[in-house]
């Protein structure tokens, strides 16, 4: 960030008339808005993708009709404008607040959840230079700041003053707190190997092609760690098969039952932004981040800096696709099975991975 500002100030007269701290403040606000917008666009794309993926997995076509009347864009077809229309519909809907709800908490709960997800994007490495704040404690920061999301969910469940909402909020809190443990432990496995919690250090340690990715190191310990991280983050995002907090068949929509219009859209947005965040997080930790899978093949062509954001976004989208695939394949777990999976399966295996990698590194 500072490097970017200093470069701009030395290059152009327009920027050099402002002080560095003012520019930093403006840039941080701009990047915040940028990430909020990226999250919104992400959600639009991913909601469309989810509907299409689920449809094709169930041998249906999904949305096909909404293609706009603009001649060129109409040719694309496949109902590409469906989620745009849905977003406009949500913005125009009435914002209903139940009489018995706690109005203030009802208002802030979705925004706490959304802010927690967006704040974590500040350390996500989209490229060697394309990162807002390349913090020394990046990985730990993500784990810490996303713990705000559980507060948003609990408050939403409480403030709605509805039994379904409350049950959803309680389930979600129990689930997120439990799955934070295996998730934190397997992140430790990677931090041990690299000796740093900075995202760029972790990514650079994996440069040089697909065989250097952390998933394939210390076989099979890192692979186990990756699977645990994938499942734990899936549970923390409240995605199926761990979507008990919003189980439609028993709790209507869980903690989001009493929300409508734009506030409900914020919940939706946070869910999909969170999926994208998880994709970037896991690919930076295990799948080489912004490095290319080809290494020095093709004369290092794919290793040029311009490809970096493309690689990491491709990897993140692949992980998001995997999340959707699981959602439309597996049935939902019961509450006791959920707790069993976290405490008696994932946590012990995470300890095995830490121990194994530690021993391996010593030998």
């Amino acid at each position: 960030m500072e490097a970017l500002i200093q470069a701009l100030q030395s290059q152009s007269a327009f920027f050099s008339q402002f002080s560095e701290s003012l520019l930093a403040l403006i840039f941080f606000v701009l990047f915040g808005l940028l990430f909020a917008t990226v999250a919104a666009v992400c959600a639009l794309v991913f909601v469309y993708l989810e509907r299409k993926v689920s449809a094709h997995m169930q041998d249906r076509l999904g949305p096909m009709e909404v293609n706009t009347e603009i001649p060129v864009l109409k040719k694309i077809g496949h109902g590409w404008a469906q989620t745009l229309a849905d977003a406009f519909k949500l913005l125009l809907k009435e914002d209903i607040i139940p009489d018995a709800a706690d109005r203030r908490l009802h208002l802030i709960a979705p925004f706490i959840l959304f802010a927690a997800v967006i704040a974590a994007f500040a350390v996500m490495p989209f490229g060697e230079k394309l990162v807002v704040s390349d913090m020394n404690i990046g990985v730990f920061f993500v784990l810490a700041i996303t713990s705000f999301s559980v507060i948003g969910v609990i408050l939403a469940g409480w403030a709605s003053n509805n039994k379904w909402s409350l049950l959803g909020g309680m389930r979600s809190a129990a689930q997120i707190v439990s799955y934070e443990i295996p998730n934190g432990l397997v992140v430790l496995v990677i931090v041990m190997q690299v000796g740093s919690m900075r995202f760029n250090d972790i990514v650079i340690a994996q440069s040089g092609g697909i065989l250097n990715w952390h998933v394939f190191q210390f076989f099979p310990l890192n692979l186990i760690a990756f699977i645990i991280a994938f499942l734990a983050t899936l549970a923390e995002a409240n995605r199926a098969p761990f979507d008990l907090p919003e189980a439609e068949s028993e709790l209507t929509a869980g903690f989001a039952t009493e929300y409508s219009g734009f506030k409900w859209a914020i919940f939706y947005l946070s869910e999909y932004a969170n999926m994208f965040l998880i994709g970037i997080f896991l690919s930076a930790l295990f799948l080489g981040g912004w490095t290319s899978p080809f290494g020095s093949l093709f004369g290092g062509f794919f290793d040029q800096p311009g490809w970096q954001p493309i690689w990491i976004i491709l990897k993140a989208v692949a992980i998001v696709f995997l999340q959707m695939w699981l959602r439309w394949t597996l049935p939902r777990l019961r509450v006791d099975q959920l707790m069993y999976t976290s405490w008696k399966v994932l946590t012990p295996f995470a300890f095995v991975a830490i121990f194994g990698v530690g021993l391996w590194m010593l030998l």
Binding site: I137, A144, F148, L155, L166, G169, M170, V177
Partner: protein, 165 residues
Amino acid sequence: MNYFDLTFYVFAIGAVVSAGMMVFSRNLIYCAVGLLFALASVAGIYVLLGADFLAATQLMVYVGGIVALLLFGIMLSVKFTGVELRTGTLQMLPGLMIAAGLFLLLVRMVFRTEWAVNQPGEMLPTTSTIGKRIMTDLLIPFEIASILLLVALIGAAYMARRERT
């Protein structure tokens, strides 16, 4: 006033206002939310002082753990048992006296202490220093704390276990 000062005042005012909300609110859930924002603001001040690891730990432990459990407990006791949990004012005079005494003590401490003021500068990595100190000079307190936590963990598991008849 540069943006360092500005951010400091934003976090400081946030901490004071939300601490006030925590103390003066009658509704327990508002108290918990006040505590949440007070802790988060203090974490922001830690970052400004260059203690980024401490700030993240504060968020992780207090926000993700303690405030979440507090909210959990309040929700369980209010919504499921129907007991209205509200705080009242008890023991006005002794409370005021203790508060005033503590306040005077703190004010005295603030003016007596020689504060080592560092200029806000480069953010240096703190994690490796903390790790080395914990593993060398502070090893015994660290081990004692971990044994304490282990005891607490076993105790919690013992209390939560299913009674066999």
